[in-house]
């Protein structure tokens, strides 16, 4: 009925994995190679889908490549410290090694389909929080199976395990 955000069971071994994953990723707000300000880009009128272009067509939302960033940044806003870093990547013809913020634990074996959720009119913020107010994306919503299932139940979406685990 209501969204449940608390977890009653946090088995110790998983806590361990979580903690070590966090320590590797460097705390909840991942330390990104470039402090990408989501809020600035959204304020300029960009939509999520403008950069995460495959979100409505593919499983993965997609991260923009350096080439894509440079489409704009070779014309506008060429000076900021972040953009300077971007220029270095662009010159080296390397991609930015972004840290993942949202992911399912590998052992959860979830095949998440962004596209299917966009078609079902699930808003980005339902699962990612209010990214438009963030600079660097932060883990605002914890993705547990209970959370997925609660939403699926509310919307009468499939509850077949094979929908996500195969």
């Amino acid at each position: 009925m209501t969204q449940r955000t608390d977890d009653f069971e946090v088995p110790l071994w998983r806590l361990g994995i979580l903690l070590s994953a966090l320590s590797v990723a460097g705390a909840i707000a991942a330390v990104q190679p470039i402090e990408f300000p989501h809020n600035k880009h959204v304020a300029k009128g960009l939509d999520c889908i403008d950069c995460h272009i495959t979100v409505d067509t593919e499983a993965a939302a997609g991260l923009p490549s350096v080439r894509k960033c440079m489409l704009c940044h070779s014309k506008f806003a060429k000076t900021g410290p972040g953009v300077q870093k971007l220029l270095v990547y662009s010159k080296q013809r390397r991609e930015v090694p972004w840290e993942r913020v949202y992911m399912f634990e590998p052992e959860a074996q979830v095949k998440f389909q962004h596209a299917a959720h966009i078609w079902a009119k699930v808003e980005c913020k339902t699962c990612h929080g209010e990214v438009e107010k963030m600079t660097v994306a932060q883990l605002a919503v914890r993705h547990t199976m209970g959370r997925c299932l609660t939403c699926h139940r509310e919307r009468h979406a499939t509850e077949d395990c094979a929908a996500c685990h195969f």
Partner: protein
């Protein structure tokens, strides 16, 4: 909302034994599609090789009047699957499309389902699977690599079904007959295997399942398999 979803699919397969030559193309196709762990001479000798589909061979008679019976055996996706009730954690269950699903991440590894499968099509991950680099580059990202301690088996290539269903949904249409093909069916040179929706009376597989040659494997056990074998003719 989803008009085409009012009647769920019921996936089934027909295998024409009169066409099957035993060439094992399906076996290789399955390995390529489903990230089956590689065996080694040692692990194979210990009976730990994986083949979600295999060609059973039985010799009948004696030389020179000898025949061999080749029979591709894969998970029969039974409607009354003996593996399902015995799983204590619902890691294997029946879904709305009639698939006998194995949820790898839910499996705790009691292996009861494997004992109870009369077709012996279930395989257990005795070890964490390894691929020497760079063979990992071949792994299909649509299919999970099963970790140590879980059961696995043929899924009717549910990742392909899923892909096709999403594609159809995106184009707002229903699936066409023959649009979904598991890797084994796709590869079969003699076209011995046909896959499709048993709920659609016009599908090729439905028509073959109705044909006089169709039998099901160990039907007497009441497992209600969804793989139909078409007998060899004279």
């Amino acid at each position: 909302m989803d008009q085409q979803d009012t009647k769920p699919h019921r996936w089934g397969m027909a295998i024409d034994l009169d066409r099957c030559t035993g060439c094992e193309a399906c076996v290789a196709a399955c390995h390529a599609e489903n990230n089956l762990p590689l065996s080694t001479p040692d692990s194979a000798a210990k009976g730990r090789a994986f083949h979600w589909i295999r060609i059973d061979r039985y010799y009948e008679g004696a030389f020179p009047d000898i025949k061999v019976k080749f029979m591709p055996v894969l998970c029969q996706q039974c409607d009354e699957a003996p593996c399902e009730p015995v799983c204590p954690v619902y890691a294997t269950y029946h879904n709305a499309e009639g698939l006998n699903v194995q949820v790898y991440n839910r499996c705790v590894g009691t292996r009861y389902c494997a004992n109870n499968c009369p077709y012996s099509v279930r395989f257990f991950n005795w070890f964490e699977p390894v691929w020497p680099e760079p063979l990992t580059l071949q792994l299909n990202p649509d299919v999970f690599v099963r970790p140590v301690g879980v059961m696995e088996k043929c899924t009717f290539c549910s990742q392909r079904i899923k892909r096709a269903e999403l594609e159809a949904k995106q184009e707002s249409r229903s699936l066409r007959d023959g649009e979904v093909q598991p890797a084994c069916v796709q590869s079969c040179p003699a076209e011995a295997m046909v896959f499709g929706d048993l709920n659609d009376p016009a599908s090729r597989v439905s028509r073959l399942a109705q044909s006089g040659r169709a039998t099901r494997f160990m039907e007497d056990l009441g497992t209600q398999p969804k793989v139909f074998y078409l007998k060899r003719g004279e």
